[in-house]
């Protein structure tokens, strides 16, 4: 039974146009419609051109990456929400951060959430890079060492580690840098 005619009817009738988005969302609709035409024409195209249409189809699929299809993949919202929570926890503000130390050949990465306070973090960094950070004073910064632990916060500013409450630090820290020598001297002084 010929179904080409049926397909043509559909292609011509705008009102019965197949769309993957809700009516009114033209963009998503357009991209998806093209995808569908490609999918359908797969069957009717000549064998040699199948691959071409196929690859176009694939590009169409890839191009609107965040034009989410409602309810796809078919995963219950309850489950989706719980996966999302995990992702936020793992990718979120400051779980794994890069640590660089001036003079060291390569960087390290640490998970800030395994620590509950600054002293734990310091001990871990000291072990990792084999140095000693000196003592922290609220007004004077770190005294007794050439090394000063600093971090880049969400605003892109370089801050002294230890000034803000621990939770605030964890949520705003993007990366750590252990400064050494003359550069560090400036930060060590109080403002």
């Amino acid at each position: 039974m010929e179904n080409v005619g049926v397909c043509d009817e559909f292609v011509n009738l705008k009102a019965t146009e197949l769309r993957l988005g809700l009516p009114g969302t033209e963009d998503g609709g357009e991209a998806e419609k093209q995808k569908i035409s490609c999918g359908r024409s797969n069957k009717r195209a000549l064998p040699e051109t199948e691959k071409d249409i196929e690859s176009t189809g694939k590009t169409e699929t890839a191009s609107p990456p965040k034009a989410q299809i409602v309810g796809w993949p078919p995963v219950r919202s309850y489950r989706k929400n719980n996966i999302q929570t995990k992702k936020n926890e793992s990718e979120g503000q400051g779980m794994y951060v890069k640590v660089s130390m001036d003079g060291a050949p390569y960087l390290r990465k640490i998970d800030l959430t395994v620590y509950k306070q600054y002293s734990e973090l310091m001990k871990s960094l000291e072990n990792m890079f084999k140095f000693s950070v000196g003592e922290y004073f609220e007004r004077e910064g770190y005294k007794g060492s050439d090394f000063v632990p600093t971090y880049e916060d969400k605003d892109g500013d370089w801050m002294l580690v230890g000034d803000v409450p621990w939770e605030m630090f964890v949520s705003s820290c993007k990366r750590l840098r252990i400064m050494k020598g003359s550069e560090a001297k400036g930060l060590g002084c109080s403002v």
Binding site: M1, N3, V6, C7, E9, F10, L13, A15, T16, E17, L18, R19, L20, L22, P23, G24, K35, I36, C38, G39, R40, N42, K43, E50, K51, E54, G57, T61, P65, Q68, I69, V70, G71, W72, P73, P74, V75, R76, S77, Y78, R79, K80, N82, I83, Q84, K86, K87, E89, V114
Partner: protein, 585 residues
């Protein structure tokens, strides 16, 4: 000569008839059998709450002790049914409170349950024992408190993946000290922390407690003390499995796990840290059911765990298991009956590529009892489907979700028609099927030809024309539930096969090409069906040729619903279209 058996004898005979399918057959034999059966039926299942009125059910089954209701269509799980569509529990609870006050058990799925409902249950059913809510919403923890305080003989309270307004963990404290009958408690979907001391006391005074599923807020430390109080547990859902414990606490916890001699089912394991997985090794050999679908455990740790689970029958896991992990399952879990692999990434782009069709093939080849599969995967091949079909003709439920819509066989670039053909040809007892990937009308011709026992079918982004629907409706003799989205068919097949819909429970179609005119026509011709047009963007006057967003059609004895929101249209809302000749009681 009166050959009828006395009703007392019939009653006695029917007391041995358990399954409702059999009871339904029994009730069709003759009037006296119908009468006796209805007076003796204790457990009633209403699989579409709009198919029949609460009053009619209460009237027919005065001896009802247990009621199971389902509300929204299955695709509501994927946000395809707008909020406010319906599925309200209240009319049922109100009716039963008045007419069946001896009701003891209520099991609701995909329904809207309010605090008012829960309070009514607590106030009306003196001997209430079992409340199981699956994928329900609309209530808060206050409603739970009402149940806890009033139901003196409560045995089961289970909240499975419900959306609950969480006002805090106090509700648990409302269980009175006199309540000692608890057998099963599941509050895994709640967020708030409950008072540990109250939970401990509840567990201590519940000698019959067999199933306990905690929420994420229950710490690992707390778990230890709870398990010490309930070593008899058969089912355990842990809370968060990630506190940092010192060595002594860890070995104490390990010890506690070895005491769980009856444990058959394990779930939860939220945030489980890899170093804690060995704690579970002692219970693995006894497990028949393991739900790791919320635990982000990586493949190597999964292999270690699963290779110890030789008696496992049911495994739910994320695609973090990868093909290698499934190979380990294949070699260790020979008793496996059900496998579900969920995607760990939320989007198409984030699919785990180390899990392919090969994983499922390994399990199919090696596990002789495998009969139920749910598998999310980036792509698939016809060859893999053919192997699965050949090695597992005993499949009853096969749900494959190729995450990328229209994805062809990734090796041959052909549609997956032939693969699914193999499945339906070989698996003669297949009752549930979900198809995906690139599919033409041919796939549906095969399904129509061979899927004779198929009861439920789910389809998305597939087919070319009306033929696909025609094949299904004219071929699948046992078809009961059909749900289709984003497929390019129109009115023809639907109208030609309209009569089929009276033999089915329901049909869902969304983002397809069915016109408003066809819906009106169906509504006029088929008075035993409710044809619901669900369209959030309803234009003032809708032309007959316009395609509708969503259609939900179901057979019903109850006539038009009285609780339809604005965005649901049925013909009963259009008085000029001959409502007078439609039977409305």
């Amino acid at each position: 000569m009166d050959l009828r058996l006395p009703s007392k004898v019939l009653e006695h005979i029917f007391s041995f008839v358990d399954s409702n399918e059999d009871r339904n057959s029994v009730s069709l034999v003759c009037k006296s059998w119908f009468e006796t059966e209805r007076l003796t039926r204790k457990r009633v299942f209403v699989r579409n709450c709009y198919a029949v009125t609460p009053a009619a059910v209460a009237r027919r089954f005065p001896g009802m002790r247990s009621l199971t209701l389902k509300g929204k269509p299955h695709f509501a799980d994927y946000n395809l049914v707008p909020d406010g569509w319906g599925g309200y529990a209240w009319p049922w609870i109100e009716a039963m409170a008045e007419k069946s006050p001896s009701l003891e058990e209520l099991r609701l799925k995909r329904m809207v349950v309010t605090d008012e409902c829960l309070e009514k249950i607590a106030a009306s059913f003196k001997d209430f024992k079992v409340l199981v809510l699956t994928s329900c919403e609309g209530f808060s923890t206050d409603g739970l408190a009402a149940i806890a305080v009033a139901c003196r003989n409560l045995t089961e309270l289970e909240l499975r993946e419900c959306i609950v307004e969480d006002l805090g963990g106090d509700w648990l404290s409302y269980f009175p000290e006199t309540l000692t009958s608890l057998v099963s408690l599941d509050f895994s979907c709640l967020d708030s922390e409950v008072k540990l001391s109250d939970l401990e006391r509840l567990v201590s005074r519940s000698p019959n407690l067999k199933s306990l599923k905690l929420n994420r807020a229950v710490s690992l430390d707390a778990l230890g003390s709870l398990l010490r109080l309930a070593p008899q547990l058969v089912e355990l859902g842990t809370g968060s499995f990630s506190d940092k414990l010192d060595q002594e606490a860890v070995s104490k916890l390990a010890q506690v796990f070895t005491e769980l001699k009856e444990l058959k089912s394990l779930s939860g394991l939220w945030d489980v840290l890899p170093e804690y997985i060995p704690l579970l090794y002692s219970v693995c050999p006894g497990l028949t059911s393991l739900n790791l679908s919320y635990a982000t455990v990586q493949m190597p740790d999964l292999v270690e765990l699963l290779s110890r689970c030789s008696n496992l029958q049911k495994l739910w896991v994320m695609d973090l298991i990868e093909d290698k992990g499934l190979e380990a399952v294949a070699s260790s879990c020979k008793e496996l009956r059900e496998l579900r692999v969920f995607p760990s990434g939320a989007d198409v782009d984030e699919t785990n590529v180390a899990m392919t069709e090969q994983g499922l093939v390994s399990v199919s080849e090696a596990c002789p009892n495998l009969e139920s599969v749910l598998y999310f995967c980036a792509q698939f091949t016809n060859a893999a489907l053919a192997t699965i079909a050949k090695t597992r003709p005993n499949l009853k439920c096969f749900r494959l979700c190729v995450i990328e819509p229209f994805a062809p066989d990734h090796k041959t670039h052909q549609p997956l028609d032939e693969g699914f053909k193999a499945i339906v040809e070989s698996c003669k007892d297949l009752q549930r099927l979900s198809v995906s990937g690139l599919l033409t009308d041919k796939a549906f011709e095969y399904i129509g030809t061979h899927g004779k026992k198929l009861r439920m079918l789910s389809i998305a982004f597939a087919g070319d024309s009306d033929l696909m629907l025609h094949h299904l409706l004219s071929g699948c003799e046992s078809l009961n539930k059909l749900e289709i989205r984003d497929c390019p068919f129109g009115d023809t097949a639907l109208l030609e096969n309209a009569a089929k819909l009276e033999t089915m429970r329901s049909l869902w179609m969304s983002s397809c090409g069915v016109s408003f005119g066809a819906c009106k026509l169906m509504s006029e011709k088929m008075p035993k069906l409710n044809v619901e047009v669900i369209d959030e963007h309803t234009p003032e006057t809708r032309p007959d040729s316009s395609a509708v967003e969503k259609i939900y059609i179901y057979r019903t004895l109850a006539g038009p619903r009285l609780d339809m929101p604005e965005f649901v249209w049925t013909i009963h809302k259009n008085p000029e279209i001959g409502v007078s000749h439609l039977a409305i009681e």
